[in-house]
Subunit: 351 residues, 2 copies
Amino acid sequence: MPDSTTSVYLKSYILGDALRAEHFELSETALRPLADAEVLLETVCLSVDPYLRGCMTGMANYYVPQLDLRAPIHSLGVARVLDSRLPGYAAGELVLGSIDWSARSILSAQAISQRPVGRRTLRRLALTAQEHPSRYLGVLGITGITAFFGIVGTAKPRPGETMVVSAAAGAVGSVAGQIAKILGARVIGLTSSPEKRSVIVERLGFDAAVDYRSATLPQDLLELVPGGPDIYFDNVGGAVSQAVMSTMRHPARVVECGQISSYDDQDGGWMVDIRPIHRHGLRFEGFTPSLFSEFEPAALAQLEHWLGTGQIIALETVHHGLESLPAAMLGLFRGGNIGKTVVSLDQPATD
Amino acid sequence: MPDSTTSVYLKSYILGDALRAEHFELSETALRPLADAEVLLETVCLSVDPYLRGCMTGMANYYVPQLDLRAPIHSLGVARVLDSRLPGYAAGELVLGSIDWSARSILSAQAISQRPVGRRTLRRLALTAQEHPSRYLGVLGITGITAFFGIVGTAKPRPGETMVVSAAAGAVGSVAGQIAKILGARVIGLTSSPEKRSVIVERLGFDAAVDYRSATLPQDLLELVPGGPDIYFDNVGGAVSQAVMSTMRHPARVVECGQISSYDDQDGGWMVDIRPIHRHGLRFEGFTPSLFSEFEPAALAQLEHWLGTGQIIALETVHHGLESLPAAMLGLFRGGNIGKTVVSLDQPATD
């Protein structure tokens, strides 16, 4: 058994400032022998998500728990059991759950119970030879569940309605747009690069793509949908969202899924200028997947079905190696990713 | 016929600063003879409303038109026709419409058509001896219409639901709360003084009143409604509203009627920290009465019926004389009023 591991730590909480590479630290530590009710894991792949920024502010009153600076960062991941003294887990099995940003890690039964992901803690995965473990981080992970509850449980598009989605080539946006298409909506994606616009229209079948950096964003949208969109599914917030809301007219709804443009500035709150909501009688609705947790198994079954039929295509940006985690995280805030951002530590299994 | 008049003017647009008495100016001007298609009016009473603050910013992109600094301020009012060269209006009649903050004023047919109030321009009023003209400024004016569409068209309370209303002793809040009571809701009013708390509970029949200045506002509310309110009807915005929203849980809705706490600071927008909306899956909905204008005659008929049966009690704060208009306006921002703020220029008719 290996006797040491390398892990990624957050050096300090970062509030009101952009996250930078130097806020992270790689460090090697010894691995002690397994105690009773513990498992030794070798990390296969890790999910890199915008919500993690909220765990790095040190603000206790936030809706996500704060990271413990003395321990490695952790997020949804897949790992292989190297050794187990915990009933229910056997060496060689794959597991899915909240995994340390470490090459190897030891989890106790208590630690496992304190890190639920949705309704479940660490669970065994049985994959066929064709299945990449990363599918459980994206469409079948928090990302897919968030898009599903945001569209099916909150936005509820009706056939013929037009939905605008921001960060449309991102992890949640790309799935949210595809689900809205399945439900019969017309979908316009906002994204930054010609490459991403081509991906969402040509690969994912969105009806149109608009550059959110356009100085004439409201007019660009109104050319495509003269009465204004029926739904805006928002992952970004800030000036882009104010511009979209300025085009919307009663009855229309904004589904607030994320505010990535504000995550570096959370000491100021997630501020929205509500004048378009007031003036045009818009409905602005928030949600988190936890509000729908009773539907989680059904949602995952439906997402797995759609993946199988090809009605949902899983887009991924895969980084390799533990040391790429900080850059992968920063990339989320710079529009660097297409689809789900995953870091793979296990070249043969995920490439 | 009188040959001069006194009027209240705004001296300059005020943006990002509190409105003060010195921003207003009283000035006397000559009254020219009536031309064709004009009426000469003597003002009876004027409505003083928070939305007027939005007409005083000079910001063109706002949802209300900006005042013309060269002309007197104007708002909903009742006047007596002194002389008329406009068919449809005869000397001695009372009229309701957008009236200058002047003792006397001349309105042309063109000016009348450019100042609609809701769906109508200047219209004749036939009052019985018992009816105060000010009722057409409050419950049967923009105030009542706003409360009606906010409750009946937007909040839609169901019997047994609990609604919290801010500025509960104010013009709109006092009517909104009474309509919610008629529809079967339990109503908790937020207001500042013991006198106002007593008025809304004892005179209007609200179920409870809470001091919005309490340092333990969220706890005070949760003691009255342990699961959090179903509806928050918001007239104020700012820190009070963030505190109320922090107590609310999915499914619950915020109806955004006004943001008086931000009106002096509109260059910064009407900013709402949406984290409670996101975290607890709240629905935040805006409206303006113009979204429901097809229902305006029906709403007025219903409000008049409720006034007649005593199911709605009209609260009023009446100031006397043209020179009291600036103080009446400032009073809105200092919690000085109970119910509708009206300035009467016609002592015998309104007292």
